[in-house]
Amino acid sequence: MTARLEVRDLNVSFRRGERVISAVRGVDLEAGAGRTLVLLGESGSGKSVTANAILRLYGRSARIDGSVRLDGEELLSLPEKRMRALRGRTVSMVPQDPSAALDPLRRVGDQIVEVLGLWGVARGNGAARRIAAGLLERVGIAEPERVLRSLPFELSGGMRQRIAIAIAVACEPRLLIADEPTTALDVTVQAKVLDLFAELQRANNMSMIVVTHDVGVARMIGHDIAVMYAGRIVESGPMEQVLSAPRHPYTAGLLEALPTPGIPRGELRAIPGRPPGPGEAIPDDACAFVTRCAFAVASCSAHRPRLEPVGAGQSAACDVIDAPIATAFSADTAVVA
């Protein structure tokens, strides 16, 4: 069971009253079988919108152009009925807030059984409950029977997230999309959940797209990374390579802004300014990062740089930088930030 997700020139825009807000522009992505791609970005970067658009969760409220191919099948042109059949079974999502994924008024067991029935995984209550218990065990829940009988509020956030993951992988999807899957969790639970993802991926050769703003999480879970800013991908490539030798000032800035040990107080290398908020208009004829960039030159405001390969599978959208930018994580110094 292989999954190869290919996204080409994805554009997602929303209508707000009279305005059209372009949330995602010209995004190209790939997720190979058994590999995890991390979409890294801050608020307003368009990373969550990209993830939701792949699953076509916006319905009519968004306009989506481009191509999203799963094992060669074009998802964007599928009739909604066929898309519904895919969701949950072939392509699945783990939402950011586990509490939102579960109905607070019904027992966990009933909810899982209902979903299994909908997806045709199990017929009959008895069989479904057995499968449900098995699913919970698979995600590391020690007493599945007790949990199945519980109401969501009786369980911890980590437990709820595991249940959401269990439901998401019940049908062994070829592609799993996780939107900030660990943000709402405590740090110790986060580590376990990330390990769980890795394990499930190994077992099913599942492709994964993980959306996050946390570089540490990205590094723990991802093979490849795509850094998003203002709706576009500004850098992409294999994880270790991009993080140790970034070729876009934003990526370098994100790494430098982390409070790594040894940096004296008051001297964090902050990126000045702030990222454009969701809904803010961004001009298309200049680099969106220019107002915050330490390397900007005059031409950056006149022309939008394209995402170009810079070697060894890495690509960056910057016309100024032509060598890796040194950060605290660099192997050897090149351009000094």
Binding site: G17, E18, R19, A270, P272, G273, R274, G277, P278, G279, E280, A281, T291, R292
Partner: protein, 296 residues
């Protein structure tokens, strides 16, 4: 803190404000509602000028003319009074009967809701449980019961409606207070030593006001119908003063011969109520959208 240390921190930070938001469009609901309500208020104010005839003096020789008669475009009633005139004059009691109870109940209900929400130990059980008793009765029955107990008259009708409306308003007020109370800025004020009263008036009240105003507007639509209902039953405005509910009662007996005549006051009541409801709904939508944008 010197100027250049701050500059070092924020460097080239643009003072860029968020992209200017286009002015919120008023929905068609709000506009329609506003037009109707505005028209209603205008009619009420200009009644002496607009009305073609006398609202109380009737010409028996011209009784029960149908809608569309020359000279009495909306017909005449059982005593020969021009219906259009009575309709126009009836706008005043309709508005007064609709708005006044809501204003009175608004003040009392908001106060009760705020006490219940901000000083739960003192007020919550006493207030809310008492109100629950009122709330248990269907509003219209309660209004009739109180109205019957008090007797006919405009003031009594207003009082009975106000009593009925206090409970729902207090509930909404309490819910809003609880929502606002959980916000961080209230904690900041408390931590700085602000008194409960100061927080209630300067911080809580302005934040619950919009919701209550919107709710109140819709309640006016309801109150207009109830007030007409009370007059219909003989409990509100006393004859010969013109009132839509009362007109409905008068003309009811002629419904087989002159069905259109009773439709006139009924349509007026309906239109007035719809107008306020549309306005309330439109305002509510605007409120939601604005909050939605703000949370972006």
């Amino acid at each position: 803190m010197s100027a250049d240390t701050v500059t070092r921190t924020i460097a080239a930070a643009p003072a860029a404000p968020r992209a200017a938001r286009p002015r919120m469009r008023w929905g068609s609901e709000t506009i329609a509602g506003a037009i109707i309500v505005g028209g209603l208020i205008a009619v009420a104010l200009l009644a002496p000028v607009l009305a073609p005839a006398s609202p109380t003096a009737g010409d028996i020789g011209r009784r029960l003319f149908d809608v569309g008669t020359n000279g009495n475009i909306l017909g005449t009633d059982g005593q020969g009074r021009d219906i259009l005139t009575r309709l126009i004059w009836g706008a005043r009691p309709a508005l007064i009967g609709g708005i006044t109870p809501v204003l009175i109940a608004g003040v009392i209900g908001t106060a009760l809701g705020m006490i219940a929400g901000l000083a739960p130990r003192i007020g919550r059980s006493a207030i809310m449980r008492t109100l629950d008793v009122l709330y248990a009765f269907p509003a219209i029955l309660l209004a009739v019961a109180i109205g019957a107990a008090l007797g006919p008259g405009v003031v009594n009708s207003i009082v009975s409606l106000a009593v009925v409306l206090i409970a729902p308003i207090a509930r909404v007020a309490e819910a809003e207070v609880l929502r606002v109370r959980s916000a961080d800025f209230i904690d900041v004020a408390r931590a700085s030593g602000a008194s409960r009263a100061l927080i209630a008036i300067r911080q809580v009240l302005p934040n619950i006001a919009p919701t209550l105003i919107v709710y109140g507007t819709s309640l006016i639509g309801l109150a207009i119908v109830y007030s007409a209902g009370l007059s219909f039953l003989g409990l509100g405005v006393t004859p010969p003063e013109p009132d839509w509910g009362q007109m409905l009662n008068d003309l009811r007996q002629f419904i087989y011969d002159r069905p259109l005549l009773s439709l006139v006051p009924a349509a007026a009541i309906l239109l007035a109520s719809i107008g306020f409801n549309l306005l309330g709904d439109g305002l509510k939508r605007r409120l939601e959208v604005r909050d939605g944008e703000a949370l972006l």
